[in-house]
């Protein structure tokens, strides 16, 4: 087994990490519990941040736009002040810091890799102000605690979360025969129902029809945010009977009796335990950890573990890791830019994220350049995690991450930005050699490539070393 296993299932070994005696059990033992967040700065709750979201949209839409409707410049200025006051420009930066602190220092890095996976499987794409206020806490409070429960539990939690409901417009969906539907002649919005089927559970290979989508949307009618004049769309999620479509519904051939809010849990149960759902999600897991095109031999043990444990995610994760271990030396996986960055950060002890004290924010001025640095890097390497373009999240295929421009961004980061992030005590050539030895079988060969630059300690000298090291074939992929 080669050292790349620690990058395949985690982020490599930091200078402080001890080389595990038993790599497989080292990895498996990390999956039994949800690790606490290590971040020492502020970790606001989803509810607190939703309140801020509400202050921001209410302040802008209901107050400033009316107050300054004839003065564009004054409006712009007041809006910028409101951004600062509500943290509209800050919270996403803080969320990136929490996330990257965890992957850099966490004692259960394998768990963290699954956390990234599920957050992307149930992705929240760029919409309204979700990335600014809500996607981060959704990842922390909706995805993370469910990673030691069943897949079905996770789908239930995600589907009724404020963030997903807002993301996929379910508050807008009204049953045409419901009390509200009859009064207003409003009708359903299929967005959430379609993605629940397509992306979150059974996938199109289940062969559902447009009528299935409509029927599932009927079941989901009523699950919406509570609206009020002051909080607008940021109220808690509740089941609004007045919007719920009456009557029985049929999804994928199964009848769901008219049962108000209880219908949703029943249909989610059936979707989340559907054999095609199990195969679809198992394949995605293997794709993330083993290979772009996982074989049946790779996937089948994961499906077996799923069936045997009734969808227990701890058991499923263990089966995935066991397979990743088995195929470690015979398969290749090209990692997306954010995971690559996390690996470099851990292996070379980079100075990101910024310390909790420096990330501290007083809501009095714009976040500083340093506070925005990590988020800026993520954007420039093309992988700002909470801003996927579409609800299917970030791609897990190499071909989507290899283009002239995307590769050049990595070269740029490693040769220009990374040297600035090398801590002052780590600028000697001996340091990089130690890191390479910790993480790569062919560290001697790698060292020979940068031997000629061994005496330099300036940013430019380090850029020449790290620029090449971080973009070698065996570093870009495992």
């Amino acid at each position: 087994m080669s050292l790349n296993f620690y990058r395949r299932v985690a982020f490599g070994l930091s200078p402080q990490d001890k080389l595990p005696q038993e790599p497989l059990s080292w990895a498996l033992n990390q999956l039994n519990s949800v690790p606490d967040f290590l971040w020492k700065g502020s970790i606001p709750t989803e509810k607190e941040l939703r309140k801020k979201y509400g202050e921001w949209v209410y302040g802008d839409r209901e107050v400033l736009r009316k107050k300054f409707k004839n003065d564009k410049n004054a409006y712009r200025q007041a809006k910028d002040e409101l951004r600062i006051k509500t943290g509209e420009r800050y919270f996403e930066l803080n969320e990136h810091a929490i996330r990257h602190y965890q992957t850099k220092y966490g004692a259960q890095p394998v768990f963290e890799r699954f956390w990234l996976f599920w957050g992307n499987h149930f992705a929240i794409s760029e919409k309204d102000f979700l990335a600014e206020f809500s996607t981060g806490p959704y990842q922390r409070e909706v995805i993370r605690p469910n990673m030691v429960k069943t897949f079905e539990d996770m789908v239930q939690a995600v589907t009724t979360s404020w963030c997903m409901i807002h993301h996929l417009d379910n508050s807008e969906s009204v049953g045409p025969n419901s009390k509200r539907g009859v009064e207003s002649r409003d009708t359903i919005n299929e967005n959430h129902a379609r993605e629940l089927l397509e992306l979150h559970t059974v996938s199109p290979s289940a062969g559902y029809t447009q009528e299935d989508v409509i029927q599932l949307a009927y079941i989901m009618t009523g699950w919406s945010h509570k609206w009020s004049r002051k909080t607008l769309e940021t109220g808690d999620v509740w089941f609004d009977q007045e919007k719920h479509q009456k009557g029985d519904k049929i999804v994928l051939g199964k009848k769901y009796k008219n049962d108000a809010k209880r219908e949703l849990a029943k249909v989610i149960h059936d979707l989340a335990t559907h054999p095609i759902c199990i195969k679809f999600v198992s394949t995605k897991l293997c794709r993330h950890f083993i290979s772009d095109e996982p074989t049946e031999e790779m996937i089948n043990p994961v499906i077996e573990a799923w069936n045997k444990s009734n969808g227990n995610l701890i058991e499923i994760h263990k089966a995935v890791i066991t397979q990743a271990f088995k195929y470690n030396d015979t398969s290749h996986k090209f990692h997306p830019p954010e995971i690559w960055l996390m690996q470099l950060s851990r292996m070379f002890d980079l100075d990101i994220p910024l310390s909790a004290e420096k990330m501290n924010y007083a809501f009095k001025s714009k976040p500083t350049g340093r506070q925005g640095q990590l988020s800026w890097i993520l954007r420039e390497i093309g992988n700002s995690p909470y801003r996927a373009k579409q609800p299917n999240g970030w791609s897990d295929f190499e071909v989507d991450w290899v283009s002239p421009e995307l590769l050049l961004r990595r070269f740029w980061f490693a040769s220009v930005e990374l040297p600035i992030l090398i801590k002052s005590q780590n600028r000697s050539h001996g340091f990089i050699l130690r890191c390479l030895k910790n993480n790569f079988e062919d560290h001697e060969n790698m060292a020979s490539l940068i031997h000629q630059f061994r005496f330099g300690t300036s940013d430019k000298d380090l850029g020449r070393q790290y620029g090449i090291i971080c973009n070698l074939p065996g570093v870009l992929k495992v």
Binding site: E190, P204, L408
Partner: protein, 383 residues
């Protein structure tokens, strides 16, 4: 131009044979023709972009989405007011529209649909290359594709050495690129190797440090590259956000904002391509249109038939080219969507034929597996 015409007369396999005999110089002395595709992800609403005028049924079903002051095209169709550059070009016979058209996909999934609009195939995820990439390859045009995006769009895959472009924060030393290139020499990864080849060959002018958020600069740079006689012949822009399930709006609103972006790109290309605009075709591409009826959130749902917006000097004339299916309930697809009466791949195949100087029959076989796609070159484009 002559050789295009001869291609049509000679037809299929003979063309392939003969094209090898054309002295290279005859191609080089010809004006370069540019094909620009703007991908509109999310499902562009053809009825918002190019609304049918005076349809009572549409007015009734879309109470909150009706446009008050459309730009007039002809007695049947209008144009969304945010698409004003198309209106201006319409008057010069340099804008046209294909309506009630779509790829042959009725499944209403974005991701399956976007995969198919790019591969041109019938089964999602089956093909790994795009119709534009295959078209370039079949036409022996290598290294002339340019994507204005960070990733390489599926649409362009299938031909090696495409470039992409998105202004980056800083330069990368050429020496470093060479070193990494050397290290990949022994690697089995062909995709990275060929991408590194492209990086090494690309002009320095493409490495400019500027603000990548500014779409205007991107379009401006693309125009600069396309104008260059030895530069790219194909460019692909990416826009998303057309999936307006809520607050779609009419003259203003979410869909209008997106159309405004399309307008902006075309306007910049028009203003900066100069004479090269006369040898250019710009076409939009989307996965599906949207439902006739507005939904619970004053948006629309995933539908079927949409429209293709076209601009450029290679268009035959200003027209709304359509076999209009009507909007009565029984005329709609599954009683809810504008039907598609023209396979949009026929339009793209014909456009490639014009821009790549290839027989459409030949391209249809090489790129679209011989699918039944009528030749629309004479109807739509300058031959």
């Amino acid at each position: 131009m002559n050789c295009t015409r001869r291609n049509f007369l000679i037809g299929g396999s003979t063309t392939l044979f003969l094209s090898g005999f054309f002295p290279k110089i005859s191609f080089a002395s010809m004006q370069k023709k540019n094909l620009i595709i703007i991908s509109l992800r999310g499902g562009m609403d053809g009825l918002t972009a190019v609304p049918v005028i005076g349809d009572k049924r549409l007015k009734k079903l879309r109470k909150k989405l009706i446009l008050e002051d459309v730009l007039k095209l002809n007695s049947d169709f209008g144009l969304h007011p945010k698409l004003e550059i198309f209106h201006q070009l319409w008057k010069e016979d340099k804008a046209a529209f294909v309506h009630a058209t779509n790829i042959p996909y009725t499944g209403r999934s974005h991701f399956d649909g976007q995969n198919l609009m790019e591969t041109g195939a019938h089964i999602p995820y089956k093909e790994k290359t795009g119709w534009l990439g295959r078209g370039l390859l079949a036409s022996d045009i290598v290294g002339k594709g340019l994507a204005i995006s960070l990733p390489m769009p599926l649409l362009l895959r299938g031909v090696p050495q495409n470039n992409n472009f998105f202004p980056s924060p800083d330069f990368v030393e050429t020496k470093l690129i060479d070193q990494i290139y050397d290290e990949f020499k022994g690697d089995h990864n062909e995709l990275i190797k060929s991408t590194l080849d492209t990086i090494r060959q690309r002009p320095l002018s493409m490495q400019i440090a500027t603000d990548s958020e500014d779409r205007k600069k991107l379009a401006l740079e693309a125009a600069k590259q396309l104008k260059d006689q030895s530069g790219p012949r194909v460019a692909v822009f990416e826009l998303d956000g057309f999936d307006t399930h809520a607050a779609q709006g009419g003259v203003d609103g979410a869909h209008a904002d997106e159309l405004e972006e399309v307008n902006e790109i075309v306007k910049i290309l028009y203003e900066n391509l100069g004479k090269a605009f006369d040898n250019t075709l710009i076409l939009t591409l989307t996965e599906f249109g949207r439902t006739i009826k507005q939904n619970g959130g004053y948006g629309t749902e995933h539908g079927y038939g949409s429209a293709i917006l076209m601009a450029g000097g290679l268009l035959k004339k200003s027209q709304v080219y359509t076999d209009w299916p009507g909007l009565k309930k029984k005329e709609l697809f599954e009683g809810r969507d504008l039907n598609s009466t023209i396979d949009s791949r026929a339009v793209y195949n014909s456009a490639m034929s014009i821009c790549f100087n290839k027989d459409p029959e030949f391209l249809r076989r090489e790129v679209f597996w011989g699918d039944d796609l009528p030749n629309l070159t004479e109807e739509l484009f300058k031959i």
